[in-house]
C-alpha cells in the first residue's frame, strides 16, 4: 500500500500523531544530526528524529521499544527482524530508518486484531508447535503471512522455498510448513 492509500486505512481513532516528547532521547546520539521522519507503525502515525546511521530494526527496538522484532545477525541473513513495509516483507536490519519515511511499518505487535485476537497464522503456529525457543518466531510469522499473500503458499515446495530466508536453529521447519499450509486457506477472507 502506498502513502495515499494509508489515509483510507488508518481510521481517525487509530491515527494518533505521536512525536518525540521534549526530553525523550531522540533516535540518535546527542550532537548527531537527527533527521525527522514521518512513519506509521502498527497503524499509529509517528514523527521521529532519527540518527541517519540507525537501521529500521534498531529504530523499532531501541526507540519504539517494540521488542518482538528480533536481531539475529544484523546482516539480512537470518530473517528474525522481518517486518512488513507497505505490506511487503523486508528484513528491517538491512534498511535505514530514514528509508521508512512516509511509509507504513507493521511489526509482530501489529499483526493481531485490535481486540487482541490472534491472526490465523499466529494460531496455526501454536496449533502445529511451529516454534521452540520462539526467538525467530515473530520473523517467521511475518514472513509466513507475506508468503501467503504473495501466492507462494500453494504447495509444500513453494512454502519451503519462500520461507528459506527465515532461519530456525531449533529446527521447527516441519511445523512451520504445516502451520502455513493450515493457515493459508483460512487467511482468504479473514484478512482485511
Amino acid at each position: 500500500m502506498n502513502r495515499n492509500e494509508l489515509q483510507e486505512v488508518v481510521t481517525p481513532a487509530q491515527s494518533i500523531l505521536v512525536s518525540t516528547r521534549p526530553g525523550e532521547q531522540s533516535a540518535g546520539a546527542p550532537g548527531s544530526s537527527g533527521l525527522s521522519i514521518d512513519i506509521v507503525v502498527n497503524r499509529q502515525r509517528r514523527q521521529l528524529d532519527v540518527d541517519p546511521r540507525a537501521s529500521l530494526l534498531d529504530l523499532v527496538r531501541d526507540h519504539l521499544h517494540l521488542m518482538g522484532t528480533k536481531k539475529g545477525c544484523d546482516h539480512g541473513q537470518c530473517g528474525a527482524c522481518t517486518v512488513h513495509l507497505d505490506g511487503r516483507r523486508v528484513v528491517s536490519c538491512l534498511m535505514l530508518a530514514l528509508q521508512a519515511d512516509g511509509r507504513e511499518v507493521t511489526t509482530i505487535e501489529g499483526l493481531a486484531g485490535p481486540n487482541g485476537s490472534l491472526h490465523v497464522m499466529q494460531q496455526a503456529f501454536i496449533d502445529h508447535d511451529a516454534l521452540q525457543c520462539g526467538y525467530c518466531t515473530p520473523g517467521q510469522i511475518m514472513s509466513a503471512v507475506a508468503c501467503v499473500r504473495e501466492g507462494h503458499a500453494n504447495s509444500v515446495a513453494g512454502i519451503r522455498e519462500y520461507m528459506s530466508g527465515n532461519l530456525c536453529r531449533c529446527g521447527a521447519y516441519v511445523g512451520i510448513v504445516a502451520a502455513i499450509q493450515d493457515a493459508a486457506p483460512r487467511m482468504q477472507g479473514a484478512e482485511p
Binding site: A80, D129, G134, P138, L167, R169, A172, Y173, G175
Partner: protein, 734 residues
C-alpha cells in the same frame, strides 16, 4: 517405581506469548537512561597488546566511556567451568595484555546510542607484539596430551579397557579399520549473546539469556569482588542455546563494570561475527575406529581412539567413548582419548558435544562392517544387543534400542531396501540411498529444588531450577504438577530463570527433565498430601483452591528437593555456588542412557551430486515422555541438526591467520526450510523404572546422536562413496 503417565498432548504453554513477540529475552530489556556498548576485538592470532589508542573513539559524539585493560584493576578471572569456575574458559579478556586467540576483546565502547557505540568501536586502534600460533589439529606447535595422564577426575576421564580388545581384534576374521574426521562447528542460536546490566546503589541486576543464572550470579560476584547477595540474574527464556550459553562469557562482567563506572544501565548485544570467537564451539575431532567380528556377525572387539582440539589455556576433555562403548554390546572395548592444545578460545559444548562426531565415526564403521559381512545393518545391530553394560557390568536402567530399531524400520519401510550400493534409483535417474544409525546419550541428574505455591484464587505457581531455552522445560514441569494435582498444565504458572528463586543448577547435558520433573512431581505430591490434611474428607473433584477456601487458608507452600540416586547432599552446596554438581550416567545400582535409531533417505542428483534428504524416521527411548508435543518438536529439531552436521556445517579456519573465517550466517551454513523434508518421529514411551520417580530420561542431546551417521550411510548406499569426514559436500561425491 514406574512413575506417572502416559501424558496428554498439550500445546506449548508459552506459545501464545511467543507468537505475539511478547516473550522477553535478555536484550529485550530496556531500562531508562540506557547506554549501548560495542566490543573491539584483537586482530592478531596470538601475542600481546602494546598500546590501545582510544582517543579517536572518545571524540565520537555520544561516546561516554571506553574501557580497556587499563580500566579493569581489581577485576578477577572467575575460572574455567571444569576447574571449579563458572566461565566457559579461564581467560578473562581485558585483564592484562596477553592475547590468547584472534577475536579476543580488547576494548568496550559505551555511548548514548548504539550507532555512536559502533562508530566509536571502529575508531579504536591497537598495536601488538605477535607470537606464533597453531589453530588446527595438525598445525605445527600443537601440543598433544593423553587425556588419561591429565589431572582430570578418574575414572570419569580414564581410558576404557574392557576385556582384551587388541587380542580379540587380532583374532577376528572380519575387521574394519578407518579414520573419521569432523569439522569445528558453532552453535549459532538465532538469539545473539547479550547483557543488560544496571546498578541500584551497590546492587547489580543483569538480564542475560543463559542456561545458568546462578552460575553467572556467582561468577560475576567473584569477578567483581562483591557479595552474591548483591547480584540478581534474570533469564526466564533463552532464544536457543544448544550449549553456547551454558557458562559465563567475557562480556558480562565488562558490561557490569561499564554500568557501574557510568552510573547508568548498559546494554551490549554481541555481533554474530564476534560470537564466533567469544563463545565456545564444537572442536574438530579425529576418530580411528577398529572393529572385529566373527563370520556369523558377532562383534567381538572395538577400539575407539580420539584426538580432539582444546585451547592452550584449558582442558576441554573428551567424553565421547562413554557413549560409543554403550552403543552396542561389544565385550572387548578399548578407548584412548587425546587432546590437542591450540591457540583458540576454549572449545566446549554444542548439542551432543562429543557424541555427534563419535556416533558419526562409530556408526559409519558399523555400516562398513555390515558391508564387509554382507549383513543388513539393522539386523547386524539387533544381533549385537546385550542387556547389561559391558564397561561396568551393571544393568542398564532401561534399554529399548532394539524396539527403536524395529519400530523405525517398520515405519520407514526398511524391508524394501536393497543392500547393494547404487542399487536404488528414481525413474529420473536420481540415486536413492537408505541409511540407518543408532545413538545413545548418558542420563545425568543434577540437584534440584522445587517450590510450589497454591492460592485460594486458583493460582498454582511452580518455581523450579531449570532454564527454558525452547526445549519445552516449562511444559514438562507444568505437566508433572498438573498430573498430580489433577489440573490442566496451562493452569500451572512456571517461574524459571531468576536467582531470586531457589538456586538453579546449570541446565545442559539433556539432564533438565530428569532433574526438574522429579522435583516438581515430588513438590506436587507433597502439596497433595498437605491439602488432604487440610480437608481429609474432600471429594476427588475438589480443587486446590476449593480446599484452601474451605479451610480458610489464603495459600499453601511446599518445597521439595531431588538429587541423583546415590548423590551426596554436598551436591546442593556446589549448586548454590554455581558449580557443576551432576551425577551419572553410572549410579550405584545401574547405568543409564537414552537410546535412538535414525532412518534416512537421501536423493543424490547424478550429474551435480547434490544431496537432498526427503525423509527421516527417528524413534527414541527417552523413558516416559512428559510433554509429547514439545518432545516431538525437540526430536525433529535434533534430526535437523544431524542433517546440518552431515551436509552443511563447518567453521572454516585459515592456519595463517587464526580465528574463524566464515563468521556469519551467510557463510556458516545451517539448514534452511528448503533443506528439510518429512521428519517422522516416534517414542518408545516406556518409563525408566530406576532413574527417578517420573521415569524420565533425556531427549535433547540424543536426538543429535546418530542422524549424521545415518545420512553418511545413506550417501554410501546411494553412491558407493564412503565419505569419512563431516560435512559431506558435493566435491566429495563428484
Amino acid at each position: 517405581m514406574t512413575g506417572p503417565g502416559p501424558f496428554p498432548d498439550v500445546a506449548r504453554v508459552d506459545a501464545r506469548d511467543k507468537v505475539r513477540g511478547m516473550t522477553p529475552y535478555g536484550a529485550d530489556n530496556h531500562p531508562p537512561n540506557l547506554a549501548h556498548a560495542m566490543l573491539v576485538t584483537a586482530q592478531i592470532g596470538k601475542g600481546r597488546l602494546v598500546k590501545v589508542d582510544t582517543d579517536a573513539a572518545r571524540a565520537v559524539a555520544g561516546v561516554q566511556l571506553v574501557l580497556t585493560h587499563q580500566d579493569t584493576e581489581g577485576l578477577k578471572a572467575d575460572g574455567y567451568l571444569f576447574a571449579n569456575g563458572r566461565s566457559f574458559q579461564s581467560v578473562q579478556p581485558m585483564i592484562g595484555t596477553a592475547i590468547a586467540y584472534r577475536g579476543q576483546p580488547i576494548a568496550l565502547v559505551v555511548a548514548d546510542s548504539l550507532e555512536a557505540a559502533i562508530e566509536g568501536a571502529e575508531q579504536v586502534s591497537a598495536e601488538y607484539v605477535t607470537a606464533p600460533f597453531s589453530v588446527t589439529l595438525d598445525s605445527e606447535g600443537t601440543e598433544i596430551l593423553a587425556q588419561a595422564d591429565l589431572p582430570l577426575p578418574k575414572p570419569a576421564f580414564a581410558d576404557k579397557n574392557v576385556g582384551d580388545a587388541d587380542a580379540a581384534l587380532a583374532a577376528a576374521p572380519v575387521t574394519v579399520d578407518a579414520v573419521y574426521d569432523s569439522a569445528p562447528q558453532h552453535q549459532n542460536p538465532i538469539e545473539l549473546i547479550a547483557t543488560v546490566a544496571s546498578w541500584d546503589g551497590d546492587e547489580l541486576t543483569v538480564y542475560e539469556s543463559t542456561q545458568h543464572v546462578e552460575g553467572i550470579r556467582q561468577g560475576l560476584a567473584f569477578e567483581l569482588g562483591i557479595s552474591p547477595d548483591k547480584v540478581r540474574v534474570i533469564s526466564p527464556f533463552c532464544g536457543g542455546s544448544f550449549g553456547q550459553k551454558n557458562a559465563m562469557h567475557a562480556q558480562t562482567v565488562l558490561v557490569a563494570l561499564a554500568a557501574r563506572t557510568l552510573g547508568r544501565p548498559v546494554k551490549l548485544v554481541v555481533p554474530r561475527s564476534q560470537l564466533f570467537h567469544n563463545t565456545s564451539f564444537r572442536p574438530p575431532t579425529r576418530h580411528r575406529v577398529r572393529l572385529g567380528a566373527d563370520r556369523a556377525g558377532k562383534i567381538v572387539a572395538a577400539v575407539h581412539e580420539i584426538d580432539q582440539q582444546t585451547s592452550r589455556h584449558d582442558l576441554f576433555p573428551s567424553m565421547a567413548t562413554d557413549t560409543s562403548a554403550r552403543l552396542h554390546g561389544i565385550p572387548n572395548f578399548r578407548s584412548r582419548e587425546r587432546l590437542r592444545r591450540t591457540d583458540v578460545q576454549t572449545p566446549g559444548f554444542m548439542r551432543a558435544p562429543w557424541e555427534h562426531a563419535a556416533a558419526f565415526a562409530f556408526e559409519s564403521a558399523i555400516d562398513e562392517l555390515a558391508y564387509a559381512l554382507d549383513r543388513d545393518p539393522v539386523e547386524l545391530r539387533l544381533a549385537n544387543e546385550l542387556p547389561y553394560d559391558v564397561v561396568t557390568g551393571k544393568p542398564f536402567s532401561s534399554r529399548h534400542l532394539s524396539e527403536c530399531l524395529r519400530r523405525g524400520a517398520e515405519l520407514f519401510g526398511w524391508a524394501r531396501r536393497r543392500m547393494a550400493p547404487r542399487s536404488m534409483r528414481e525413474t529420473d535417474g536420481t540415486l536413492v540411498g537408505w541409511g540407518v544409525a543408532t545413538g545413545a546419550y548418558p542420563s545425568v541428574i543434577s540437584p534440584s529444588i522445587a517450590q510450589l505455591r497454591v492460592t485460594d484464587d486458583g493460582g498454582i505457581v511452580l518455581n523450579v531450577g531449570v532454564q527454558e531455552m525452547g526445549q519445552g522445560a516449562r511444559n514438562a514441569v507444568a505437566a508433572a504438577v498438573a498430573d498430580v494435582l489433577k489440573v490442566r498444565a496451562d493452569q500451572v504458572t512456571t517461574l524459571l530463570g531468576d536467582t531470586k528463586g531457589p538456586p538453579p543448577h546449570l541446565t545442559a547435558g539433556s539432564w533438565g527433565t530428569a532433574t526438574a520433573v522429579p522435583a516438581a512431581r515430588q513438590a506436587a505430591i507433597d502439596m497433595r498430601e498437605a491439602l488432604r490434611k487440610l480437608q481429609p474428607e474432600a471429594s476427588n473433584g475438589a480443587t486446590p483452591a476449593g480446599i484452601l477456601r474451605h479451610a480458610k487458608r489464603p495459600f499453601l507452600e511446599v518445597e521439595a528437593r531431588h538429587q541423583a540416586p546415590g548423590a551426596p547432599d554436598a551436591v546442593f552446596d556446589r549448586m548454590k555456588q554455581g558449580l557443576l554438581a551432576y551425577v551419572g550416567p553410572e549410579f550405584p545400582e545401574f547405568v543409564s542412557f537414552s537410546f535412538i535409531a535414525h532412518f534416512v533417505e537421501v536423493h543424490v542428483e547424478p550429474a551435480t551430486c547434490r544431496v537432498r534428504v526427503p525423509r527421516v524416521v527417528t524413534v527414541a527411548d527417552c523413558g516416559r515422555v512428559v510433554s509429547p508435543r514439545t518432545a516431538a518438536s525437540q526430536l525433529r529439531g535434533g534430526v535437523v541438526w544431524g542433517i546440518g552436521g552431515a551436509l552443511r556445517e563447518a567453521s572454516e579456519v585459515d592456519p595463517r591467520y587464526g580465528g574463524f573465517l566464515n563468521a556469519d550466517l551467510a557463510e556458516y551454513l545451517v539448514p534452511v526450510n528448503a533443506d528439510i523434508g518429512d521428519i517422522q518421529v516416534d517414542f518408545v514411551d516406556k518409563p525408566d523404572p530406576m532413574l527417578n520417580n517420573a521415569g524420565v530420561k533425556g531427549l535433547g542431546e540424543v536426538a543429535n546422536v546418530g542422524p549424521a551417521a545415518a545420512v553418511a550411510n545413506a550417501v554410501y548406499h546411494a553412491t558407493g562413496r564412503r565419505v569419512r569426514h563431516l560435512p559431506i559436500r558435493i566435491e566429495d561425491l563428484l
